[in-house]
């Protein structure tokens, strides 16, 4: 009798716990992830003001991977599906003939960024800015895939990773690149346009002091153009959603050398910021047919 009462009480506790657990659970896309995507979508008026012709965030579905499922937000609807990439990544990827934006869920994004202590405002702004970064790639590849291919011709180059590794192993290149970064940063932080132009003349002279082989030229031009411009969009959106202190801490203090492609994100972004100074509305004609160096040299000659 005593044993029976124990079994019944135990089962009741279990059932009650299970019901409470199910009742308090959240299902579908995490509210934070959805809010993050919606924050990004709300930056459209600001993106419009940047002037990239036809760049509309809402044109590209955003797929959020939470470890089990992928939630696709598009046209104010959310659909879940079996993950296509199945890994934490931020990228633009072609799905059934159109580009989609792939981002991690916000919790993992924060961990990947090692940002839990940066505070919510930082993570919110960075998440939305990253979605804009990847959506910009979707826009680039949707409209200018052919130009990118022609300009950088990565397919014709050696393995880009190998090319990058060879550049990183070259001490002379490293020193040259660090000097270039320093000049670009000085130009960005110059007090007026004439000072910017003067520093960029030094930069121009500096670019003449190094000649890269054809493959290295293609790979660096590709990353500066495709990733640098997307990083520029990301940084501008981040600045819009946060403040100058956080912007400077994250984007300007990271200028330097790293043994991977990340340095070209920064150098390309700095060149875009310089175009803002020298050639207002440069974004209107941006069609990925010219590399960042060519764009900057053209702007300097005007």
């Amino acid at each position: 009798m005593k044993r029976k009462a124990f079994v019944v009480a135990d089962a009741m506790i279990g059932v009650l716990l299970l019901i409470s657990l199910l009742a308090t659970g959240s299902y579908g896309i995490d509210a934070d992830d959805r809010a993050g995507v919606e924050t990004a979508l709300r930056t459209q008026p600001y993106l419009d003001s940047l002037g990239f012709d036809g760049f509309q965030l809402a044109d590209y579905p955003v797929a959020v991977f939470d470890g089990n499922k992928e939630y696709v937000l598009f046209d104010e609807k959310v659909e879940s599906r079996t993950p296509i990439l199945g890994t934490l990544t931020g990228t633009a990827y072609e799905v059934e003939g159109h580009y989609e934006v792939f981002v991690p869920n916000k919790k993992d994004f924060s961990m990947l960024l090692a940002a839990p202590n940066h505070g919510e405002p930082f993570i919110d702004a960075m998440y939305a800015a990253t979605i804009c970064h990847e959506a910009f790639h979707a826009w680039q590849f949707t409209y200018f895939g052919a130009q990118i291919e022609q300009m950088a011709n990565l397919a014709g180059a050696e393995n880009p990773t190998q090319v990058l590794a060879e550049l990183d192993a070259d001490a002379r290149y490293r020193s040259w690149f660090e000097q270039e970064q320093e000049l670009l940063l000085q130009a960005v932080q110059a007090k007026d346009t004439s000072e910017t132009q003067a520093i960029l003349q030094q930069w121009l002279a500096h670019t003449e002091t190094l000649s890269l082989n054809a493959d290295a030229q293609k790979v660096t031009a590709y990353y500066e153009l495709v990733e640098g411009s997307a990083q520029y969009v990301e940084a501008k959106v981040f600045m819009e959603l946060s403040d100058e202190t956080m912007y400077n801490e994250y984007y300007m203090q990271s200028v330097g050398y790293s043994n991977d492609a990340a340095k070209y994100y920064t150098s390309g972004m700095l060149k875009c910021l310089l175009l803002d100074e020298l050639l207002p509305a440069w974004q209107t004609d941006f069609d990925c047919s010219l590399g960042m160096n060519q764009l900057l040299k053209t702007a300097l000659e005007r």
Binding site: L17, S26, N117, G119
Partner: protein, 253 residues
């Protein structure tokens, strides 16, 4: 209940738990004296609201490690010392006996947590956040959930597994539980078989870090995630049923 009281008394006689609890309090206190102006993203990480959840995690790690050390040997020692025979002759069943010992371990672990909480009290006093003290007992109740999980887990596996293996598994459960978000993120980065294994293990081990964060939220006046706490309690509930699965061969019932 007599068995549980006997275990609790025996554990509280050990000096090492007071030494480790004092070290824990000292570590927590070290953080309270920081005057650094270090900021990340414009936000000071030495602020009370930023530091408190970290302090709760420190308390969980210390009291969790002590819990593993204390709970690991309780049941095996009963058999080693032959005390179990004194119980069998009174007609007590094996799950009942192990349940009593487990309950004793659980009470001891909660007592250890209480000692470790002294560090938090000192931290809060040092920061001058006196209003938080009133919330601390409620936070303590939430903190009991992750500690109970570690205590029950270690006790149950100690019935069947050798001490060293049980200890390793107990520590592993603590590490996986405390670093749950990190391992979860790693599983999402990986793919294939390894990712599947990590995900499965993380489904078994509750997110102890999130549980302890809920305790910090109680003190900070932030909303508490009831689902997370209920998940921890449910995991403890399921674990206790392993008492009916794991049995000692030498016992009669």
């Amino acid at each position: 209940m007599n068995i549980a009281a006997y275990v609790l008394k025996a554990k509280l006689r050990r000096k090492d738990i007071y030494i480790v609890s004092a070290i824990c309090a000292l570590v927590v206190l070290l953080f309270s004296s920081g005057n650094s102006s270090l900021t990340i993203g414009g936000k000071s990480i030495t602020s009370y609201a930023s530091l408190l959840p970290i302090m709760f995690t420190v308390v969980l790690v210390f009291s969790g490690a002590l819990t593993v050390a204390l709970c690991l040997s309780t049941i095996p020692n009963e058999y080693k010392q032959g005390t179990s025979h004194l119980v069998w002759v009174r007609g007590v069943s094996q799950p009942q006996y192990h349940g009593g010992l487990l309950l004793g371990n659980l009470f001891s672990s909660i007592a250890i947590l209480g000692f470790s909480y002294l560090g938090l009290v000192l931290f809060i006093l040092a920061k001058g956040e006196f209003a938080s003290l009133a919330q601390l007992p409620f936070a303590f109740l939430v903190s009991c959930v992750p500690i109970a999980f570690i205590s029950i887990f270690t006790s149950v596996i100690s019935i069947s597994l050798p001490g060293m293996v049980g200890g390793l598994l107990g520590v592993l459960a603590l590490v996986l539980g405390v670093a749950h978000p990190l391992f979860s993120m790693l599983a999402n980065v990986l793919s294939g078989f390894v990712a599947q294994v990590v995900r499965t293990v993380l489904k078994i081990i509750p997110n102890l870090y999130a549980l302890q964060t809920q305790a910090a939220n109680v003190v900070l006046g932030k909303p508490m995630d009831a689902h997370c706490v209920l998940g921890g309690i449910f995991a403890c509930y399921l674990l206790t049923h392993l008492l009916f699965v794991f049995k000692k061969k030498e016992a009669q019932a």
